[in-house]
Subunit: 135 residues, 2 copies
């Protein structure tokens, strides 16, 4: 039941499951509400699980929304390079998995020659559906 390195604790599994089932990013307190029937009663229990799942790359935090999505990208075992597209209208979030982009960003050097070990990129625009409906 305890965690070796690959395995999730009970609370972590519960939280991961609800995030994976969701079609939209979930907020911490909406997760808390949903899992109260399963015995998770207080914010720290949710936030601990979230923190751990993020470290494992199982989920990502959408910083501009304070919300959490399941990783759709099998190789995000360490979540140090994330990119998302976010619809300004319906708030749909999609994880971008684009080798060219990730290579470009992972190798990016700034003016001073500095390299980075982690990045997070959030794109905003209208998703296909919303673009259609507006036009």
């Amino acid at each position: 039941m305890n965690q070796k390195i690959d395995f999730l604790s009970k609370n972590q599994q519960i939280v991961l499951e609800i995030i994976e089932k969701a079609k939209e990013p979930l907020k911490a307190y909406s997760i808390l509400f949903s899992v109260q029937k399963k015995g998770i009663k207080a914010p720290p229990q949710v936030y601990r699980a979230l923190d751990r799942l993020i470290k494992l790359g199982k989920i990502h935090k959408i910083e501009s929304k304070n919300a959490f999505v399941a990783c759709k990208n099998d190789n995000c075992t360490i979540s140090n390079a994330t990119a998302f597209s976010i619809c300004d209208n319906c708030e749909m979030v999609t994880e971008i998995s684009n080798p060219k982009l990730s290579k470009y960003l992972a190798n990016f050097e700034d003016e001073t020659g500095m390299r980075y070990n982690k990045y997070n990129l959030e794109f905003f625009g209208l998703c296909r559906k919303c673009k259609k409906n507006k036009s």
Copy 2:
């Protein structure tokens, strides 16, 4: 005193000034504390000024820190394309102004051919100083 489109209201000027003077990103409530002597007494006054300054591109929000920095980039009149480097150790934040990067991101098309009108990119690593001190 009121705002045409280029001019800032009193509260907006006060808030902008303190952010511009700061060497680090400032949190909303630390701004509130600093400006209480100038007559700004409550959170909404600060948040309104921040919102407006962001829309004008005078400041940017560092999403991963819930903190605000002055724009160092004269042409960010609309802040729809932002990139920052953030030191994991000393939390120093620098706005990246790299034409190649911004061109690359502004023109980025995802798999579905979707284009975006806005992005925010945050790089994390160790700044020069911190890297030296650690080695």
